[in-house]
């Protein structure tokens, strides 16, 4: 049908949207951590690390992921190359 059109324009069917939304909702339900808390933590982590090594704050990614019924906090912090 119009599946290829949906793909072309990056449109997601409602079931896929439901799943994406649920993923986020469940993480916050399970951990009781609000998105704003995560942002706050991110700033503090960047500050703490910047005291010792040089990093680019814009490249830092902090996210919660599912691992079965457990949640994980994943931090991806690229280091700046030495000049």
């Amino acid at each position: 049908m119009s599946d290829w059109l949906d793909k072309l324009y990056g449109r997601k069917k409602s079931a896929a949207q439901a799943k994406d939304r649920l993923k986020l909702v469940l993480i916050h339900d399970r951990t009781d951590i609000q998105p704003s808390t995560l942002e706050e933590m991110k700033d503090e982590i960047i500050k703490a690390i910047s005291n010792h090594i040089s990093i680019n704050p814009n490249e830092v990614k902090i996210q919660m992921i599912h691992d079965g019924r457990e949640q994980r906090l994943i931090a991806d912090i690229p280091l700046k190359a030495r000049r």
Partner: protein
């Protein structure tokens, strides 16, 4: 031998707990098992009407707990099966008339004489739910493939784990294969991926469920009902049989993937 005591719960209301309890009970009775089902939804009882036993109630759960009758007097024998009984909920009381230890004591009185005791839980995560899971040694969570039912199922699964009653197993009820094919309904695979628990069965949306409830004869008594077949399969899986999932005419490939998920226990 002690009975297997299974509580059927969901968090959200209206997803099919009572229908599932009635149908699994009857399906187990069809397999020659001795079964008691208990309606623990005090004040909002319904298992009696789904089983077609509403006119036979004399005593109820709270009468047993408050010692106005013996447990046998509150057990209503099914019309079709000699070894299937219902203990109805009280309709004019509230959930505070019962405590978790009352439920354990009540079930203890009959566990030696039956193979299965199924407890139909009320919706919610409060006292009524705590009462319902107190006697359980297994828990079944039932959900629908929609956002709010899955979210509430996740909450209840977490609570079941923290109450040391897990791991719960999942029934996905009212799945509409045609909507799944169009990408407009969460697939069983999506739900399992989100909830990360073992799958016990998938029951497709089927109008014969309402027709059966209308007349007080659970859908497993209908020969040609696909939902009835799904509940029969669930009963057999509880007995330990390996029963493949019904082919719900999924688009090619998906069904195959699903059966693999089932084989690996949804992990």
């Amino acid at each position: 031998m002690a009975a297997r005591i299974i509580t059927i719960t969901s968090g959200k209301g209206g997803v099919g707990k009572t229908t599932a309890t009635a149908n699994i009970s009857v399906a187990l009775a069809q397999l020659g098992q001795r079964v008691v089902c208990i309606d623990s939804d005090i004040g909002l009882r319904n298992l009696d009407v789904v089983l077609g036993l509403e006119n036979r109630i004399v005593y109820d759960l709270v009468d047993v707990i408050e010692e106005r009758c013996r447990i046998r007097q509150a057990m209503i024998k099914d019309k079709g099966f000699d070894d299937l009984y219902l203990i109805p909920a009280a309709q004019t009381r509230d959930k505070n008339a019962v405590s978790p230890s009352d439920m354990i004591a009540l079930v203890d009185q009959i566990t030696g004489e039956f193979d299965w005791i199924l407890v139909d839980s009320p919706a919610g995560i409060e006292r009524g739910f705590k009462n319902a899971i107190a006697p359980a040694n297994e828990v079944i969570v039932i959900t629908n493939p929609d956002v709010s039912a899955v979210r509430d199922a996740d909450r209840i699964i977490g609570i079941i784990e923290s109450e040391q009653k897990g791991p719960a197993r999942l029934i996905i009820n009212r799945l509409n294969p045609e909507m799944v094919n169009r990408g407009e309904m969460l697939d069983a695979e999506d739900v399992l991926d989100l909830l990360a628990i073992k799958l016990l069965g998938i029951v497709p949306e089927d109008e014969t469920v309402i027709m059966s409830t209308n007349v007080g004869k659970p859908v497993v008594t209908r020969e040609k009902s696909i939902a009835g077949q799904a509940f029969k399969n669930i009963a057999r899986r509880l007995m330990g049989d390996e029963v493949p999932l019904i082919d719900l005419e999924y688009k090619e490939g998906i069904f195959h993937k699903l059966s693999k998920i089932f084989a690996s226990g949804g992990e």
